[in-house]
């Protein structure tokens, strides 16, 4: 496997006694988008949490460039340029929008205002809502706060756990659009998605996970064309 920006090699992880993901190899190249698809319970979210350090990897190696991040606490991993957006509870509900964004630049307080302007340009509505507690916003706007907070990190890699979950169809379209725009600024993206077709359309590479293992790894357009994949995971027939 060729070296990427994010390299996951033979990683196993889980909660409690058993492992949920086994021997997973993944890699995301700089400035590219990769998506993990697969049925519920396949270990997709577990995998992304393990990379973020919310869950400790038990075996294997996770590297950003040459830095081994497997086994680091989540707060250290954040300093290595990884920004993880959880599926739920991804904003500080009692903090105002601007305070949420400030927490995003926690590791680089000097650059707060500069980065804030960039996030406001991407999500102008957040500027209007700056003083409102994030918990009082609509679901779509909360998702923008979560996303904006991750961008305040100015990460090398953005890890997104189901970014479109709970959004209206129009908002889903907008969310994928935003991911593409963010990626164009040079940030690599690894996401887990239920909206597999839409996610793969904006991705360079796709992984199919099943029962805690990587069942298939291929360029995204190949996965979209593959008959097996579309019948099993994309819900489309060709």
């Amino acid at each position: 496997m060729t070296e990427g920006l994010l390299n996951v090699t033979k990683v196993s992880a889980g909660y409690g006694r058993g492992d949920i993901v086994h021997n997973v190899d993944l890699n995301v190249k700089a400035k590219r988008v990769a998506t993990i698809i697969g049925p519920n319970g396949a270990g997709k979210s577990t995998m992304i949490k393990t990379i973020a350090g919310v869950l400790c990897r038990r075996k294997g190696s996770i590297r950003i460039g040459k830095t081994e991040i497997g086994g680091m606490p989540a707060s250290e991993i954040a300093r290595c340029g990884v920004a993880y957006v959880p599926q739920e509870a991804n904003v500080f509900r009692q903090l105002s929008v601007v305070e949420n964004l400030q927490m995003g630049s926690w590791t680089a307080p000097a650059e707060f205002f500069e980065r804030l302007e960039r996030v406001y340009t991407l999500f102008p509505v957040l500027k209007e809502r700056a003083k409102i507690p994030a918990g009082n916003l609509s679901g779509g706007q909360r998702q923008m706060v979560a996303f904006g907070m991750a961008l305040m990190v100015e990460p090398k890699v953005l890890l997104l756990d189901e970014p479109s979950a709970g959004l209206s169809p129009a908002m889903v379209e907008q969310m994928f659009d935003t991911i593409t725009r963010v990626n164009k600024t040079g940030i690599a993206v690894l996401m887990v998605e239920q909206n597999a077709v839409q996610a793969l359309r904006i991705s360079d590479h796709g992984y199919v996970m099943a029962a805690g293992r990587v069942a298939m790894s291929a360029p995204a357009d190949e996965l979209l064309k593959s008959k097996d994949v579309s019948e099993l995971y994309l819900g489309t027939r060709q």
């Binding site: 509870a89 903090l95 305070e99 927490m103």
Partner: protein, 287 residues
């Protein structure tokens, strides 16, 4: 006469407010009501007593010593007792915290006996105006309580570490993911709250008496103030303290003063029945 009761109520509120704020801050990160606060307050009162009466230091230096010493005791109680038990249910932790308060209280009793003591202070005439009395110590307690409320507000709203405290209380995993070392933030919260409990011990020694039960006797009004304001909300705790402080004193108008301690219980009971989230709390906070 009634104006005097209001003054007494404000003094009482000033005694309750700092620990109620601290109790609320701790609840925010721990997610269980820590009833060891009585123990911390007693420890603070006796550290100040030892430094003041034992070694002859002026009370304000003894007070700072009590704040520092109690901060360390509170932090140690997390390291030795609560951290190993994290992940247990709030009810288990609550019972453990009550046990801890008994242990602290009895350690104090073992060293100092159960005698009633007081600080070594020069006697001063109370200030009188329009037939009302207030002692110099009480004026200091009120001024300090206001200063602490303002300081806590400024810290939580405008400082980096204060925002990190709120972020950690709000969503610890997310705070960690954004690069905040939540272990440090939690330790700092314990120190700040411990210092406030230590200071309360000094205030209680000034306004009441110094004895091993001094902290325990304040626990119910502090808890009542914190839940009245909406547990986990430091601003609510400030207002809750004012209301409980006044209510305790004003009931003297209609009830014998020995029933004063019942007022806190009554407030808790009424709140839990009609508005369990407190006046300013969010209903999402569950105990």
């Amino acid at each position: 006469m009634n104006a005097q009761l209001i003054i007494n109520g404000i003094v009482n509120a000033s005694l309750i407010a700092p620990p109620a704020i601290a109790f609320s801050l701790l609840f925010g990160i721990l997610r269980f009501p820590n009833f060891a606060i009585g123990g911390y307050i007693t420890v603070g009162a006796f550290i100040a007593y030892s430094l003041n009466v034992g070694t002859g230091l002026p009370l304000w230096i003894a007070g700072l010593g009590a704040m520092a010493g109690t901060a360390v005791v509170a932090w140690l109680s997390d390291v030795l007792v609560f951290r190993p038990m994290r992940g247990h249910t709030p009810v288990t932790l609550l019972v453990v915290s009550i046990a801890l308060t008994l242990v602290l209280e009895h350690i104090v009793r073992l060293i100092y006996s159960a005698d009633v003591r007081g600080f070594d202070l020069p006697l001063q005439r109370p200030v009188k105006f329009a037939s009302m009395h207030i002692t110099h110590e009480q004026i200091n307690i009120i001024l300090m309580a206001v200063a602490i409320a303002v300081a806590v507000h400024l810290m939580l709203s405008f400082t980096r570490i204060g925002k990190a405290m709120r972020a950690t209380a709000d969503n610890q995993t997310l705070a960690e993911v954004r690069g905040i070392n939540t272990t440090h933030v939690i330790a700092l919260t314990w120190f700040v709250c411990g210092a406030l409990f230590g200071l309360t011990g000094v205030f209680a020694g000034l306004d009441l008496v110094i004895e091993p039960l001094v902290g325990w006797n304040l626990t119910i009004p502090i808890f009542a103030a914190a839940i009245l304001g909406g547990i986990g909300s430091p601003y609510g705790a400030m207002l809750g303290a004012l209301l409980v402080g006044l209510a305790e004193e004003l009931t003297v108008l209609v009830l014998p003063s020995s029933y004063k301690v019942g007022v806190g219980f009554l407030i808790i009971a009424i709140l839990l029945l009609i508005r369990p989230q407190g006046l300013f709390g969010r209903s999402e906070i569950k105990k």
